[in-house]
């Protein structure tokens, strides 16, 4: 049924609703804008690995900052639910003037390095909601420097400090002891605490604006507006699901895990997704996914990582913003989606299984959801994506730690009518790289290259996106640690497109190059050592012999593929810089 013919029950008039929705969105944008600009570490200000949102008193998300990365704003409702449950268990209550810090991945936080700072909003002594910022912090006191690549943490305690709904400010009074403990137990405390202060200030601004909005319209009107807004997002998602044929769509992909580990239970781990579409709702069943790895941190918190990966992938495909515009990201959007994940599997681990390195497995789960959904909506997906890699660089400079985190891009698979995006963050991540001129100006690192990899694009009618080659030379002694994926399993090709290309990592030291697996615990290096990352390339989409010969020629002229590959993979014959269309036709016909 066309939505315009359907009568929609709303609580308030559509004009007031539109005005309040705009105001809510504006508040979240302001929070993010200020956080990004005030913060100190490049992971927030350059990579934009932060989130900002308002929720109601139950933790239902009202709006989010569209500048923030999805994996930071998405979990915010979970943070609030986790905080409320934790405080209830301890018999604590929320008071005006409190600021709450929380990073418990078993109670809503996405993983330990992501800290939520929560400012409750009171109007006439009644709790009406929360203003929340989240961000990834450079170091949280884990066993080795940095907060990524902690791939050998054996349990939740090895991942760093755990703060479970701790009031850093209580009724307006700062709890200095907490800050002292924090400072004494993390590396690079100035940067980290500076970022946390920025988070608190941004959340306070959001609270102030939200309070003013409630003051202007009254809580009843505001509540009615956001209830309508949630219904609105829900309605769009239900309409999109209803358009899918009922049935089951299943897919399996694999993560590397620890490829160099002798224990087979730690590598080649399946991620299984079954989508059950019925009417206007969908069940996402992860049964069949590998059991949790009890002493390696690649387990994924169900709330904060797994749920976000699923929601984000479904909305990006079913409600693609290029077609649907900016649909408000709120709790209504997720109502039609039920997630089933057996306790004790990789996607629903039991405490204290470590989870700090869940980033890449989570994105692989997102990719698997897309692979399952591809069967229902083949023209709205990409072929398999190339996953990301995170590297922590560190060293000592006059007794002080320096820590730098770099998220290395993947690439998308080919799409219906379009090639895959080259060299971008994929699916649930959307951070930014650091300028080379910034890295080299502030760290003892030289960047030796940053280019697309040649001759690796996955052939297809629409070819896969291309990953990068990036190389870093240490100018002084230091170390690094890495969490990555996709060294063994190639991104899936779709509808006759070729599978993509795996990622590689190598260390060149004293002239000798050593290949490294996708996960490397803290590894010392000497000045002059060179770390080389080769990013993965997404899968191809459709039969490459149907690719427009002009596009193949363009790729050859642009130096992305060789003329030999054009002939072999695409059946396109190129003479000099021109197409030989006759020879191409013959070759393509012969190969059929």
């Amino acid at each position: 049924m066309n939505v315009q013919e359907r009568s929609i029950a709303t609580r308030i008039d559509p004009v007031t609703a539109a005005v309040i929705h705009g105001a809510l969105e504006n508040i979240a944008i302001e929070m993010g804008h200020k956080l990004m600009r005030m913060s100190y570490s490049s992971i927030i200000r350059e990579s934009e690995d932060f989130g900002a949102a308002l929720t109601d008193a139950e933790g239902r998300q009202l709006c989010e900052c569209k500048m923030s990365t999805p994996l930071q704003s998405g979990p915010i409702p979970g943070y609030i639910r986790g905080i409320l449950a934790t405080m209830k268990r301890r018999g604590e209550t929320i008071q005006p003037g409190d600021v709450i810090m929380h990073n418990d991945p078993y109670a809503g936080a996405s993983h330990g390095p992501d800290f939520g700072f929560v400012v409750p909003v009171f109007v006439n002594e009644r709790l009406v909601g929360f203003s929340v910022t989240t961000a990834h912090h450079l170091d949280v006191g884990a066993l080795t420097p940095g907060s990524c690549g902690i791939v050998d943490a054996v349990d939740a305690y090895a991942e760093g400090l755990q703060f479970k709904a701790i009031k850093v400010t209580e009724r307006g009074v700062r709890n200095e002891a907490v800050w002292t403990i924090l400072r004494d137990n993390i590396r690079a405390p100035d940067l980290v605490v500076g970022d946390m202060e920025a988070q608190i200030k941004a959340a306070e601004i959001g609270a102030e604006r939200y309070r003013a909005l409630v003051g202007q319209y009254g809580l009843e009107t505001i509540s009615a507006a956001y209830e309508d807004l949630m219904d609105y997002s829900e309605r769009l998602m239900r309409d999109a699901i209803r358009a899918l044929p009922d049935g089951e769509y299943a897919a399996v992909t694999h993560i590397d895990g620890y490829l160099d580990d002798p224990d087979p239970a730690r590598r080649d781990l399946p991620i299984a997704v079954t989508l059950r579409v019925m009417g206007d709702s969908i069940v996402v069943d992860l049964t069949g996914t590998a059991p949790q790895v009890p002493d390696k941190p690649i387990n994924m918190p169900l709330v904060g990582t797994v749920d976000c990966a699923i929601w984000l992938t479904l909305r990006s495909i079913l409600l693609d913003s290029v077609k649907y515009g900016n649909i408000p990201q709120n709790s209504g959007l997720t109502r039609p989606i039920e997630i089933v994940a057996p306790q004790g599997c990789l996607a629903n681990p039991s405490f204290p299984a470590p989870v700090i390195a869940r980033f890449c497995p989570g994105n692989q789960l997102a990719d698997t959801v897309m692979k399952a959904l591809a069967q229902a909506v083949p023209e709205q997906v990409s072929a398999g994506i190339g996953n990301l890699r995170v590297i922590a660089f560190s060293g000592l400079n006059q007794g002080q730690h320096w820590v730098h985190m770099e998220i290395l891009e993947g690439s998308y698979g080919g799409r219906f009518g379009m090639d895959g995006m080259d060299a971008v963050d994929t699916l649930y991540a959307n951070t930014r790289n650091n300028p080379i001129e910034d890295i080299e100006s502030h760290l003892p690192i030289r960047v030796n290259c940053y280019e697309l990899r040649p001759d690796v694009a996955a052939p297809g009618k629409w070819r896969g996106g291309i990953g990068t080659e990036r190389a870093f030379t240490y100018l002084s002694d230091g170390g690094f640690s890495v969490e990555g994926e996709g060294h063994k399993y190639r991104p899936w090709g779709f509808r006759g497109g070729a599978d993509g290309t795996v990622a590689e990592l190598a260390l060149r030291s004293n002239g000798a190059e050593t290949a490294l697996p996708s996960k490397v615990p803290y590894h010392k290096v000497r000045a002059g050592d060179l770390l080389i990352s080769r990013g993965p390339c997404g899968g191809g989409y459709g039969n490459p012999f149907e690719r427009d010969p002009k596009e193949v020629l363009a790729d050859v002229l642009d130096g992305l593929i060789s003329a030999e590959a054009a002939a072999l993979d695409y059946g396109v014959v190129i003479a000099g810089t021109e197409l030989d269309l006759a020879a191409t036709a013959t070759r393509r016909a012969g190969d059929r």
Partner: protein, 692 residues
């Protein structure tokens, strides 16, 4: 001194003639000639000169706002561009910041990958590398490789080349040497360097800005040369000045060297015009609010100073630009914005626009979708028989049909739906203003809103009321405020040096040397433009941040030799600005001077004042009275509304709203609980009552 301002827009080319000596002023409009805009420009100049009995040879300056560069980018019709860059870094402009435009989209495009300014095949790499902190050479430039690359680009028919090396902002030597080699091998080509265009760190943004300059360079150069020649052929011996994005004007020579200066040419003139109008009413804290058919452009002026974008926020066509620019916030909200119910049933207005064709339903050109203009017609705020001074008839029945369809789907009455369209579009515009004021620590309640463009005066007062802005100023000719703005500015050239110097450890000698060098460089440019030294003034601004942050704030720096006492003042100003903008200052933290900028201002003749039309009596200006719908205290009421003819209004006599004022190029709405009068400068000043 006689001057003409010419502003080329999408539909019309506007002219303002002014005799700076006696204040005489005339305006004129011709249709824009998109295939060659200079034809319309030349025809209009001839007509305005003839109409005012002056010979073209008497005109001493022509100030020109052009959209040549903007259109080339938006339509992606520029030169075939090549690039020479460092070995290992061929794809900096393709990888960008590795971030997608959209979070939640599989099928999105990335402008830099789908519409590259420089195709990969024309990006050549050469050995040679510089490094921080001084730009020292790590690897020498391979000049033979540069020559080979240039020869290849020449053979491939490339028309413009951007030379882009890492760390060139610290040391332009490699880029300059490469430029000389390329220019010699490609004598016809436009060749530029990233350090010349924008010597600031962040390679993707700088390389992209240089590529953009190359992309539009041949087109802008050709246009300016052609126009300059045409003016001369028409017997005009005066100077041609081109509007720049930085709020000043540039000579043809400068425009040809730095074509990216003109990317916001047209928009900037509007902000200047709005600011000048505000000043004539004695207001120095202003929000300029320019609404046309498809977009609303917002600029901020604090105590006479125009807000500039920070280095990371300027963009065009999805490409970042690392250039000094006025901060102009554009949103898709205008007279043609379409009201609709989206797929989820929400009531939305814009950003889609009916444009000029088919246009709003009321234009009677086949448009059937309800637009903001149609809502204004339904509510009686636009007069179907007196639109654009009677120059165009509006189809009221068509407007009503379009809006009533919407009303039916919404379950609202016709009036409620029409008024809802205005409330929503006004709220969108108020949010946009909020993002440039409240969110940056500026309280709009201390500002006046200058509303212009065809539709600005229709919405200005109600938008102001939403923000608590107490005053709205409507210029005498709202439709040609941009052209007028062209006659209010100076030559303005910018120089910049990246410093990365930290409080407590500042190398004052280096800082002072850099400032002296920049001032000498700018003085040289002015001298080349034949501008006398006594007409030049310099201003210094630092881009400052707390060490570790990634975003800078602009802080004015003292003139002359900087010493420690001067720096203390700069640090204090930074803490204060940070607290104002973000609500907090980290006073214990060290501060980093990222860049130092010097702007050179070369004084130009300017518009001095406006004479109001003589007017008559208030009673004589009344056209009629008629009930109109307004929202008062949240509910809709029909109130008796007085319609006035603008040019018949007397100066200095108050009248109260609700009122609607008709004139040739715009319509002004004075809502209930507001009063208005014509100021001695000819502008209309609307004062809004405070909310209870």
């Amino acid at each position: 001194m006689k001057a003409i301002g010419v502003d080329v827009g999408g539909t019309f080319t506007d002219f303002v003639y002014c005799d700076m000596g006696n204040g005489a002023l005339a305006i004129h409009k011709v249709s824009t000639t998109p295939d060659d805009p200079s034809r319309g420009v030349m025809a209009g100049i001839a007509e305005i000169c003839a109409a005012n009995g002056i010979s073209p040879s008497e005109i001493s300056s022509v100030f020109h706002g052009t959209t040549i560069a903007t259109n080339a980018v938006l339509e992606h019709k520029g030169a075939k561009v090549g690039m020479i860059t460092n070995e290992g870094f061929r794809d900096i402009v393709h990888i960008a910041r590795h971030q997608r435009v959209e979070h939640y989209s599989i099928m999105q495009e990335l402008p830099w990958q789908n519409r590259p300014l420089v195709k990969r095949r024309y990006r050549k790499t050469v050995p040679g590398r510089l490094g921080p902190p001084t730009g020292a050479e790590i690897e020498p430039l391979d000049e033979a490789a540069v020559h080979r690359a240039a020869t290849e680009l020449q053979a491939e028919g490339v028309e413009a080349v951007a030379i882009c090396f890492l760390f060139s902002y610290l040391n332009p030597d490699h880029e300059r040497r490469a430029q000389a080699i390329v220019q010699e091998a490609m004598p016809e080509a436009f060749v530029t360097t990233s350090s010349f265009i924008s010597p600031q760190f962040r390679e993707f943004e700088r390389f992209t800005t240089a590529s953009m300059a190359a992309f539009i360079g041949p087109k802008v150069g050709g246009y300016v040369r052609h126009l300059d020649a045409a003016l001369e052929a028409a017997g005009m011996t005066g100077e041609l000045r081109i509007m720049s994005s930085n709020g000043g004007v540039a000579t043809p020579k400068m425009t040809m060297e730095k074509p990216a200066l003109t990317l916001l040419s047209g928009l900037v003139a509007g902000v200047l015009g709005g600011a000048w109008i505000g000043r004539m009413v004695g207001r120095e804290r202003l929000i300029t609010f320019d609404i046309g058919g498809t977009s609303a452009d917002i600029g901020i002026v604090v105590d006479g100073v125009f807000a500039e974008t920070d280095a990371r926020s300027a963009s065009i066509g999805g490409f970042p630009l690392l250039m000094p620019m006025l901060d102009i916030h554009t949103i898709g909200a205008g007279g043609g914005s379409i009201a609709h119910l989206d797929a989820g049933g929400a009531f939305k207005v814009g950003p889609q626009s009916a444009g000029a064709v088919p246009g709003p339903a009321a234009y009677g050109r086949g448009g059937t979708e309800p637009t903001v203009t149609d809502a204004n017609v339904v509510l009686g705020r636009l007069d179907p028989d007196d639109f654009l001074g009677g120059g165009m008839k509006l189809d009221a029945a068509a407007a009503e049909t379009a809006v009533s369809g919407l009303a039916e789907r919404l379950g609202l009455s016709l009036t409620e739906a029409a008024e809802g369209v205005l409330t929503i579009i006004n709220a969108n515009m108020a949010n946009a203003i909020r993002s440039r004021t409240v969110q940056k620590g500026i309280d709009p309640r201390g500002f006046a809103l200058v509303a212009f463009g065809g539709a600005g005066p229709l919405h200005g007062a109600e938008v102001a009321a939403m923000l608590g802005i107490p005053e709205v100023i409507v210029p005498p000719y709202p439709g040609i405020t941009s052209a007028m703005g062209l006659l209010t500015t100076d030559l303005k050239y910018d120089a910049i040096r990246t410093e990365f110097q930290v409080s407590g450890k500042v190398d004052l000698d280096r800082l002072n040397a850099d400032c002296r060098e920049m001032e000498a460089e700018l003085a040289g440019q002015f001298a080349a433009d034949h501008i006398c030294a006594d007409q030049i003034a310099f201003h210094r601004v630092g881009d400052l941040r707390y060490v570790g942050q990634g975003y800078e704030l602009k802080i004015p720096m003292p003139q002359g030799e900087l010493d420690n006492a001067g720096l203390e003042g700069v640090w204090a100003a930074f803490h204060k600005a940070h607290a104002a903008e973000y609500g907090h200052a980290f006073k214990a933290n060290p501060i980093e001077i990222v860049n130092v900028r010097v702007s050179g201002i070369g004084t130009q003749p300017k518009l001095a004042r406006l004479e109001p039309s003589p007017g008559g009596t208030l009673a004589g200006a009344i056209l009629r009275r008629h009930p109109c719908a307004f929202r008062v205290d949240g509910s809709l009421e029909r109130l008796e509304t007085t319609y006035y003819r603008r040019d018949a209004l007397p100066v200095g006599e108050d009248f109260s709203g609700p009122a609607i004022i008709l004139q040739q190029d715009s319509t002004t709405v004075v809502p209930p609980r507001a009063a208005a009068r014509v100021e001695p400068s000819g502008s209309l000043l609307i004062r809004l009552e405070k909310h209870p």
